[in-house]
C-alpha cells in the first residue's frame, strides 16, 4: 500500500497540529510563508490581479480550516509590475528576505523564464498557473496550466473531426504563439494537411487594425473547403479582432475561431453577441456544472464581494496547485521547500470540473480538456470534453528537437530533459 507512509505521517501530524493550535498566541509568529508573485500594476495587472486575489482567498480558507501543520499560512504579496527582470529580483527578495516556502506566480512565459534561474539557485518551488508553450521542465517549477497537448492539440482534433480542412494560425508575435504554432504546424502536416492549406499570421501586441487580416482570412476560407482560425492572439487585441470579424460578416458557422487565450475574464469586458459560436479550449470553464465548482464560485464571490466577477482557467490552476502543495506539505510533514518538492510527484487534488488531477513526474498535471462555444452572456457552453484526463507533455512529440526528450524528476533519472535516443540528460536544469 503506497498510501501508508503519508497516511502515517498525517496521523502523526494531526495530534501535533492540534497541540499547536491549542498553544498560546506566541505561536502566531510561527507561520508558513507563501509568496505571491503577480503583477499588480502595468499591462499584465488586468489578468494577474485576479490571481493574487484567488491566492489570498485560498490561503484564508486554509487558515479557517486550521492552517497547515498547525501553523497559520501567511501570504507575502509582492508586485513585479509587469517588468520581467523585476520578477527575478522580487523572487530573490521573497526567498532570501521573507523566507517563503513556496511561490505562486507569473503569467507570461518571459516572466517565468526570468524567475527560473532564481528558484533553481535558491531551491524553492514555483507554481505556474497559466497555459504555456511547453518545452521546459524544471525541478523547481510545477506547471499547473495546460501544456500544448492539453489545449492546442485537442482543439485542433475537435475541429478536424468536424471537417475543417484549411487552417489559419493567427497569433500575437511572442514566444507562446510562435512555439504553439510551430507545434501545430508540424502536427497538421503530420495529419496530411498541405502547406498551402495553412496560413500563419503574427501581429504586434495590442494590434487594433484587423481589416486586412480579417479580409485575408475571409478569402482564405472562401475556397469551398471548410476553414477555421486557431487563435493565440493575446490580451485585449482580441476585442477589435472579433469586432472586425463581426463587421465583415464572418460568423462562427462560416469560419469558427478557436482561441487559447480568451476566457471568461477577457469576455467580461465586451458585448459577446457577435461572437456566439466561436470557440475556446481550456481545462476549466466557469459554466462547468459540478458541485465543487459551484462551491468555488460561491466562496470567490463571497471573498471578492462582487457577484458579477467571473472565474477562469488560471484561477482553477492555482486552486489545484495550492491544494497539491498543501497535500505535499502534509505528506512531507514539513514546509521545507526541498522536502516538499520531493513529495509533490504523485500528489492528487480535486479539480473544478469534477475530477481529480495528479502531479506527474514531469511536473505537469493531468487535466480534462474542454471545448466551449461563446454564449451571448459572456459564458461558455461546453460542446466537447475529452473522455478522460490528459497528462501534460513537457516536450512536444511534434517538434524535431524535442520529440526524443522526456522529463522525469523521480530518482534515479531525475532529469528535466532526458534524451531517450542517446540516453543522456543534457545536464541543463530547464
Amino acid at each position: 500500500m503506497k498510501a501508508s507512509t503519508p497516511m502515517r505521517r498525517l496521523a502523526l501530524a494531526v495530534p501535533t497540529a492540534a497541540a499547536l493550535a491549542m498553544s498560546t498566541v506566541a505561536q502566531a509568529a510561527d507561520t508558513i510563508k507563501v509568496g505571491i508573485l503577480h503583477s499588480l500594476s502595468g499591462t499584465m495587472a488586468i489578468s494577474e490581479t485576479t490571481l493574487k486575489d484567488t491566492m489570498l482567498m485560498l490561503i484564508e480558507e486554509q487558515n479557517k480550516k486550521g492552517g497547515l501543520l498547525g501553523k497559520k499560512l501567511e501570504p507575502v504579496v509582492v508586485d513585479p509590475a509587469s517588468n520581467w527582470p523585476l520578477f527575478a529580483e522580487k523572487t530573490r527578495e521573497l526567498i532570501s528576505q521573507d523566507g517563503v516556502s513556496a511561490i505562486f506566480g507569473c503569467w507570461t512565459s518571459v516572466s517565468r523564464k526570468s524567475v527560473l534561474p532564481v528558484v533553481e539557485e535558491l531551491k524553492v518551488p514555483l507554481f505556474y498557473p497559466v497555459q504555456y508553450e511547453g518545452e521546459e521542465s524544471s525541478k523547481y517549477v510545477f506547471y499547473t496550466g495546460a501544456a500544448p497537448n492539453q489545449q492546442a492539440i485537442p482543439a485542433v482534433d475537435y475541429l478536424m473531426a468536424r471537417g475543417v480542412k484549411r487552417w489559419v494560425l493567427a497569433g500575437t508575435d511572442y514566444v507562446y504563439p510562435r512555439t504553439t504554432n510551430k507545434i501545430l504546424e508540424a502536427y497538421l502536416k503530420a495529419k496530411g494537411v498541405a502547406a498551402g492549406d495553412i496560413m500563419i499570421n503574427y501581429t504586434p501586441f495590442g494590434h487594433s487594425d484587423w481589416q486586412s487580416i480579417v479580409s485575408d482570412i475571409k478569402k482564405f476560407g472562401n475556397t469551398g473547403r471548410k476553414a477555421a482560425v486557431v487563435s493565440t492572439i493575446n490580451g485585449d487585441a482580441n476585442v477589435p479582432f472579433y469586432k472586425e470579424l463581426g463587421n465583415q460578416g464572418i460568423s462562427a458557422e462560416d469560419i469558427p475561431v478557436v482561441a487559447f487565450s480568451v476566457g471568461e475574464e477577457e469576455l467580461s469586458g465586451i458585448d459577446t453577441k457577435p461572437l456566439v459560436g466561436h470557440l475556446a479550449a481550456w481545462n476549466y470553464f466557469m459554466s462547468v456544472d459540478v458541485e465543487t465548482n459551484d462551491a468555488f464560485i460561491e466562496s470567490w464571490h463571497g471573498f471578492i464581494g462582487d457577484e458579477e466577477r467571473v472565474s477562469n482557467d488560471p484561477m482553477e490552476a492555482h486552486y489545484i496547485g495550492f491544494n497539491m502543495w498543501v497535500k505535499a506539505v502534509e505528506a512531507a510533514g514539513t514546509a521545507d521547500p526541498e522536502a516538499v518538492v520531493d513529495s509533490m510527484i504523485g500528489v492528487t487534488a480535486p479539480n473544478l470540473s469534477g475530477g481529480v488531477s495528479a502531479m506527474m513526474p514531469n511536473h505537469h498535471i493531468t487535466k480534462p480538456v474542454l471545448i466551449g462555444e461563446i454564449q451571448d452572456d459572456g459564458q461558455f457552453q461546453i460542446v466537447y470534453s475529452t473522455p478522460g484526463l490528459v497528462p501534460g507533455d513537457a516536450w512536444s512529440d511534434f517538434l524535431p528537437g524535442s520529440k526524443d526528450l522526456i522529463a522525469d524528476w523521480r530518482a534515479p533519472l531525475s532529469c528535466g530533459n532526458y534524451n531517450v535516443k542517446t540516453a543522456k540528460c543534457s545536464g541543463q536544469n530547464y
Partner: protein
Amino acid sequence: MKFLSVLLLCLSLLPAHAARVETGDERLDGIFEALMGSDFAAKEDAISALAATGHAQRFEWIEGILDGRLRLLKKQKRLVWAEQQGSRYVATDALSGEMLGEFKKRKLKKIAINNAMRRGIRGILATRDLDSEDPAARLSSIQAMLANPSPGQAQLVEPRLASEADPEVRSAMQLVLALGKLGAQARKERLQAVIDVSASLEPAVRQQLQKMTDSDPDAGVRAAAARSLEKIEERVRLFGHLETLFFGLSLGSVLVLAAIGLAITFGVMGVINMAHGELIMLGAYTTYLMQLLLPEHTGLSLLLSIPAAFIVSGLVGIAIERGVIRFLYGRPLETLLATFGISLILQQLVRTLISPQNVPVSNPEFMSGFWQVNSVLSLTYNRLYIILFCLLVFAGLFLILKRTRLGLQVRAVSQNRSMARAMGVHSARVDALTFGLGSGIAGVAGVALSQLTNVGPNLGQAYIVDSFMVVVFGGVGNLWGTLIGGIGLGVANKFMEPWAGAVMAKILILVLVILFIQKRPRGLFPQKGRAAEG
C-alpha cells in the same frame, strides 16, 4: 486507485439526465427530449426531424431555438416562449399561447446549440424563405444557397424562377441555375453555363470553374472555363486593390484623427505634449460614461459624446496649460517631462476612479455591419463613418483656424508673439484657448477610437507615437500636411501589410519616416516664412 479516479471522472462527465417535455404529441416529445439533451449529433437529427414534422409552428420553433427564446419550463415540463423583462422572464406556452407568468432565469432551460446546428437551422430557414412575401428574405435565401451549394438546389429554384418579379432575386436565381448546369451531362450545356457565369464574382462560381479547369473531361470546356476564370480573377484582383485602398484610407483617417489635435498643440504652439494620448483616452471614457447615462440609446449617446468629449478634454487641456505648461514655454525638455508626468497621472486617475480593466463601449446599430458592393468587395460601415468623421473634423478645424477671430489670433501669436501682443492680442488667453482646442479635438478623436478599439487606461499610449510620427512627417505647423501625411502613411501601411506582415509593415513605415525626415527635416509640407525660422 488511479484507474478508479479516472473512471469516476468519466462517469461524472456523462451527460446529465435529459429533461422531459410534455407537449401531448409523442413525436414532438421525443424530438424535444433529444434537443434538451447534450448529444449534439442527436440534436442535429432532431432539428431535421422537427422540420419534417409538418407542424404548423415548426419554423417558428426552429427560429426560437436559434435565437434562444424557445425554452423549457423545467418543473412544468412545458415548452415556452421566454421574453426577458428586467432580470426575470415572461413565459407563454409555445403550443397554446397561454400566459404562464414570470419566472427566474434558472427555472427555464435553454436549448443548447452548436455551430453545426446553427448552420443546419439557417439552411432550413433559407428553404422556408424561398416562398416569403419579402423580396429581401427571398434574396438572402438564394444567397445562402450560393454560399453553400448543394445538388438539390436547382430543382428547388427552377419552378420559382418564372413567377419571380424582383429583378435582383431573379438574377441570383439564374446564377443558382447556371451553377447547377456547370455540372450538367451535355457538353453544350456546360459550355453555355461557363459563359453565363463569367460575369459573376461569387466564390462558389470560382470554385466550380477552378474544378472544371482542372478536370473537365472535354478540352473545349476546360479552355472556356479557364478563360472565364481568368476574366473573373482579373476583376477580383481589381476589387482586392480597391479594398486595400479602402483599408488604407480608414487606417489613415484614424491616424489623422489621433494626430490632428497634436497638430495644433505641437504643430502650431510648439508644445511637446506627451499627455496628448491621455486626452484622447479621456474622450473615449467620456463616450463610455455617456453610454452609462443613456444605456438605451447607443446612437444618441454616441452623438452627444462628441461635444461632451470636446468639452471634457478641452477643459482638462486648458487646466494643463494654465497649471503647468505656461510656466515652461521655451523649455521643451522640461515640457516633455512635465507632460509625460501628467500622462501618467491621468492614466492612474482613470485606473483608480473607473477601473484598471478595459471598459465595454458598444457600437450603435448603424455602426455595425457592412455595405456589400459585390460578393468580393464589402465596406464596413464603422470604417466608412470614421473616414467621413475624420474629414468633417478636419474641415471644422480648418474653418476655425482660417475663418474665425480665434483662428486669426492663434495664427498671429504662433507667427510672431511680440508683434501680436503689440497689436492688442491677449496672448496668454490665446495660448490657453489654442491648447484647449487641440485637446478638445483629441477628445473627439477618442470618441471615434472608442468605436474601433479597446477603451482602457492604456489607450492613449498606443497612439502617441503614431500621432507624433504623422505630425512630424506631414510638416510641423501645417494642417494639410497632417491630413496628407496621415492618409499617406495609412495607405502605405496597408499596401505593405499583405506581403510584409503586420509587424514588419509597422517597422518599415517607421524606418521610411526616419529616412524621409533625414532628407527633409521639415516634413512633407514645411512651413514657410519667418515662423519657420523660430
